[in-house]
């Protein structure tokens, strides 16, 4: 009743974003924007001026921060740092590749699906069945 544990306990976590301006604007409207005391944000807007190094740094920062549970990354941005995204295999934060305005979602590039892809090969399943 009144003593029910509140949902927002210590394990409440943030959603980080690395995406284009419109996607970030939309999610900020949905209330996920967070700015800490050092004025560090939980998002990175990627435009034509953003360098791969900046994306890499943001990805590394978001995936090591303990207060982040999900990192949303536009798939075309993930393709720019594919080696980092594919080599990441921790359960938290979960990396979710999302579509962007100019680049629709392509399952063939999704890091999760490419990790599990080899099971779809009929040969690997069939050889196991013999």
């Amino acid at each position: 009743m009144a003593n029910r544990a509140p949902v927002r306990t210590n394990n409440s976590a943030l959603i980080a974003m690395i995406a284009d301006e419109d996607t970030i604007t939309g999610f900020l409207l949905a209330g996920v924007g967070n700015v800490d005391l050092r004025r560090k944000t939980n998002y990175l807007i990627v435009d034509s001026k953003t360098t791969v190094k900046q994306i890499e740094d943001a990805f590394k920062e978001f995936t090591t921060r303990e207060d982040i549970a999900i990192v949303l990354i536009s798939q075309y941005v993930a393709n720019m740092v594919r080696f980092l995204v594919d080599s990441y295999n921790k359960p938290i934060p979960a990396i979710l590749e999302i579509p962007s305005k100019d680049h629709p979602y392509d399952p063939a590039h999704d890091s999760v699906l490419s990790r599990v892809k080899y099971l779809f090969s009929t040969e690997s399943v069939a050889s196991d069945r013999r």
């Binding site: 949902v7 959603i15 209330g31 996920v32 944000t41 549970a69 999900i70 999302i98 999760v112």
Partner: protein
């Protein structure tokens, strides 16, 4: 002996089939969810573009983002569910529009608290009637009255307005529509995250079975 071996083989095959089915099922759900995420994001971008068209490009831009220190109104909660003797399952749930003034409750959880409180209030109602005349009872009632279901809606509305207010006080209805589309997208994203965890779990199990079978 042969019958026993056959039964064992059959049950292990059955288990493996179940794992493969679970894996295929979660992969399918993941793809379906990604599809609905795409359409909800598309809707959001369209509404954002319409809002930008009616309000002007300079009024909806990243230059207006709130860079003052503030905490997120919508956060995630992580639950660790025990799925087996050694397995632990991750579950993400969304905590929407928690008030920045009272960050201890979010609107979804607050709804349940409200139901509890309403139940409590109805069971306490005769007592309340008895003490109706005393000033103490009025004071005791006051904090409960502030937590009415309306307050929960008000809190969410207030927080929604707060995030809209970075683009001005009078915003286009299209911007509100975009906000709601992105909220839906966020709900789908949390489902995607959960499905992703299920998918990787099922994948690990199938791979384990395959490896043990080849040994």
């Amino acid at each position: 002996m042969e019958k026993g071996e056959d039964a064992e083989l059959q049950s292990s095959n059955h288990e493996r089939d179940a794992n493969v089915l679970e894996f295929m099922d979660s992969t399918d759900s993941y793809l379906v969810l990604m599809n609905s995420l795409s359409s909800s994001l598309r809707q959001g971008w369209l509404e954002l573009a319409s809002a930008r068209h009616s309000m002007g490009a300079s009024r909806i831009s990243s230059a207006l983002f709130d860079l003052k220190s503030h905490s997120a109104a919508t956060t995630l909660q992580l639950n660790h569910q025990i799925a087996g003797p050694e397995a632990e399952k991750l579950h993400f749930s969304l905590c929407k529009w928690a008030s920045s003034e009272s960050p201890k409750s979010c609107s979804e959880e607050a709804k349940f608290e409200e139901e509890d409180k309403l139940l409590q209030r109805t069971s306490n109602s005769p007592k309340v009637l008895d003490q109706d005349g005393s000033s103490n009872s009025v004071q005791e009632e006051a904090p409960e009255a502030t937590e009415s279901p309306r307050t929960v809606e008000d809190q969410a509305r207030k927080e929604r307005l707060k995030s809209l207010s970075m683009f001005g006080m009078l915003v286009s209805p299209k911007l509100r529509a975009a906000q709601s589309s992105f909220e839906t997208a966020l709900e789908i994203l949390v489902e995607v995250a959960n499905k992703r965890a299920d998918l990787l779990d099922a994948y690990d199990q199938v791979r384990e079975k395959m490896e043990s079978a080849t040994k």
